[in-house]
């Protein structure tokens, strides 16, 4: 699994490529934590190239979501593929965070 970040205005777009499982979720937690530590409290998770996510991935998202909101920001997700989207829905995560069909829409939702 690979992660990259790019800054789009005030929003950090974090793109994850590959599978987020119990092995790789720690990397996601650390990466998102580092973005928050840098002061990037508006984060979009680009899930367009995530082919698999387990409950370990949800845990990483939940931690970053809580931390970003504590800082007055938010973590929003874009372009989840059908399997990942089902995981987000089954767990009720779609009720506690905002998801968008595309990364561009997720970025635009911050109004920057």
């Amino acid at each position: 699994m690979d992660i990259t970040a790019k800054q789009v205005g005030s929003v950090a777009v974090v793109s994850i490529v590959g599978s987020v499982d119990a092995l790789t979720a720690e990397q996601v937690t650390r990466f998102l934590g580092a973005e928050l530590d840098k002061g990037n409290k508006h984060i979009v998770g680009d899930l367009s190239q995530v082919d698999f996510m387990s409950s370990a991935g949800l845990r990483a998202i939940l931690m970053a979501l809580k931390d970003s909101r504590q800082q007055g920001g938010d973590l929003r997700l874009g372009a989840a593929q059908p399997g990942v989207e089902k995981v987000l829905k089954m767990s009720g995560f779609t009720n506690i965070l905002k998801t968008y069909p595309t990364v561009d829409e997720a970025v635009a939702s911050f109004g920057s």
């Binding site: 599978s19 499982d21 119990a22 092995l23 698999f52 387990s54 409950s55 370990a56 949800l58 845990r59 939940l62 931690m63 979501l65 809580k66 909101r69 059908p82 399997g83 089902k86 995981v87 089954m90 767990s91 009720g92 009720n95 506690i96």
Partner: protein, 152 residues
């Protein structure tokens, strides 16, 4: 063997891997490659199977072999035109899946707990779950039906 005049072909695949997180991708890859050739298994069913197997193996790695030298997990996959059956054998601590508490999927952000979703996903995605533990180890059987009973 024939069922309803149709020849019943069952394919069996098996791999054994160390019970460690590095093995999770191998277990998922087996599901992916074994199921790809079957037209009755679409992307959604394949994802359900990979998710259930990944979560079950993660539980074995995290809890089953807790405090022990990690042993192995043996995954046996049987595919026939009507169902996919996954058997996971391990030699760690016994664990009764139905004892685990279910997560609250309605909980708001502040009340969200970190755990509990692994088993929840297994129950939500599989049609049948069986668990046996004896002196020969533990065996979890997951069944995903490829068409609802009675509609054939």
């Amino acid at each position: 063997m024939k069922v309803n005049g149709e020849r019943l072909v069952t394919e069996t695949h098996q791999i054994a891997r160390a019970a460690e997180r590095e093995s999770l991708a191998d277990f998922r890859d087996l599901i992916e490659s074994a199921c790809q050739q079957h037209p009755a298994i679409d992307d959604a069913i394949r994802y359900d199977l990979k998710l259930a197997v990944d979560e079950a193996c993660t539980n074995i790695i995290t809890h089953g072999y807790a405090g022990m030298n990690p042993g192995s997990i043996i995954l046996t996959l049987e595919v026939d035109p009507h169902q996919v059956v996954v058997m996971l054998a391990d030699f760690g601590h016994a664990f009764e899946p139905s004892d685990a508490p279910a997560p609250d999927v309605q909980a708001g952000l502040e009340d969200r707990l970190m755990g509990g979703f692994g088993l929840f996903f297994i129950y939500r995605t599989m049609d049948e779950i069986r668990y046996e533990a004896d002196e020969d180890g533990n065996r979890l059987t997951l069944v995903k039906r490829l068409q609802p009973l009675g509609t054939a």
